[in-house]
Amino acid sequence: MGHHATTPGEIAKPNTKWIWKVFWILLVITTVEVTLAYIWPASLSVLLLNVIFISLTLVKAFYIVAEFMHLGHEVKALVMTIVLPILFVMWLVVALLVDGTFWLDCRSYFIQ
């Protein structure tokens, strides 16, 4: 991005290369995800597949937030203001997933 030095009334040339680069990254990752969903052999661990899916999703999220939302080019204090609370809430998501497994154990114990 950045501001171009132009005389008033004149419109600067578009600088869109980086936008299309991010577009291709997002498109390729999504294609890889869908392909993996199709070709993943039943003999391989589903957990591993899910770990791959979530990691690729986080890569996509990084590019959207850092480039499209421009957060990667803001000052560090602003980046931390946004990212730290989100990290805490992500920890909460993971913690309650683990708890969900525990509830299933409790449930099967009482139902049987």
């Binding site: 991005m1 501001h3 171009h4 419109i11 600067a12 578009p14 600088n15 869109t16 936008i19 299309w20 991010v22 577009f23 997002l26 498109l27 999504t30 995800e33 869908v34 969903a37 199709y38 899910n50 899916f53 979530i54 999703t57 996509k60 999220a61 959207i64 937030v65 499209f68 939302m69 803001e74 000052v75 204090a77 602003l78 203001t81 946004i82 609370p85 989100i86 809430v89 992500m90 909460l92 998501v93 309650l96 997933l97 708890d99 969900g100 497994t101 509830w103 299933l104 449930r107 099967s108």
Partner: protein, 231 residues
């Protein structure tokens, strides 16, 4: 410092407290804080989804549930339609950045063009979602019942967890509402751009702010795509 000079200071610059710590305008900062709070809401929904799914003894396989494509009848095409929806939303995010980029160069014609494409992308996404919902409801999955239980020995369909439909419709519905309001805000800002209001104020920051919101909507969809359709 007298009160009078303080007020004049505020009128001259939005920030009157010395060195700007975050180097972002008030409006952009408030948009970011709103988005953080909105991310908390979506995370709350995701927490419920994850915990309920993991604590259910049986959960429907998304490859079986979401395998239809408009106009292709009973062809088994898992994930294809939702991948198309994802592509449309990513594409509309790209046109939004292009609008912001054009705004930073004060190129009004280009801003108008890219904002129109963004609005079109958002509307197309909503239409796709309407089809997806209709298909699922007609097939028998609502917030009250679910027909995606484990297949019985004779091949018959059995009732599955009702939570599946409830979470699916609530979370994709909440996201769809965000897309809808994003489209409406985009139309409002587009109207202002066409009227030359941004050229009058001398900057296109309003386009940047609605852009932040629009990318956030795309970001949430990236997660919905993973957790509802892939995993």
């Amino acid at each position: 410092m007298s009160t009078e000079s303080l007020i004049t200071g505020i009128q001259d610059h939005a920030w009157a407290g010395g060195k700007e710590p975050l180097k972002a305008s008030y409006g952009k900062l408030m948009m970011w804080f709103f988005l953080v709070s909105d991310a908390f809401t979506f995370s709350g929904l995701l927490v419920v989804y994850g915990a309920l799914r993991f604590s259910n003894p049986y959960w429907p396989d998304p490859d079986r549930v979401f395998n239809a494509f408009p106009g292709l009848g009973h062809a088994d095409l898992p994930l294809m339609f939702v991948s198309l929806m994802t592509f449309i939303l990513i594409m509309s995010s790209v046109t939004m950045v292009l609008a912001v980029e054009a705004g930073s160069r004060m190129d009004r014609k280009a801003v108008e063009k890219w904002m129109l494409w963004t609005i079109l992308g958002g509307a197309t996404f909503l239409a796709c979602q309407a089809w997806e919902w209709t298909h699922l409801i007609e097939d028998g999955t609502t917030i009250f019942r679910n027909m995606w239980g484990a297949t019985a020995e004779d091949g018959a369909r059995t009732p599955g967890p009702v939570n599946f439909g409830q979470l699916f419709f609530f979370i994709t519905g909440f996201h769809g509402t965000h897309v809808l309001s994003g489209v409406v805000i985009n139309i409002l800002i587009y109207y202002r751009v066409v009227n030359g209001q941004m050229d009058k104020t001398g900057h296109y920051e309003m386009v940047e702010k609605v852009g932040l919101y629009w990318h956030f909507v795309d970001l949430v969809w990236v997660f919905v795509f993973t957790f509802f359709y892939l995993v």
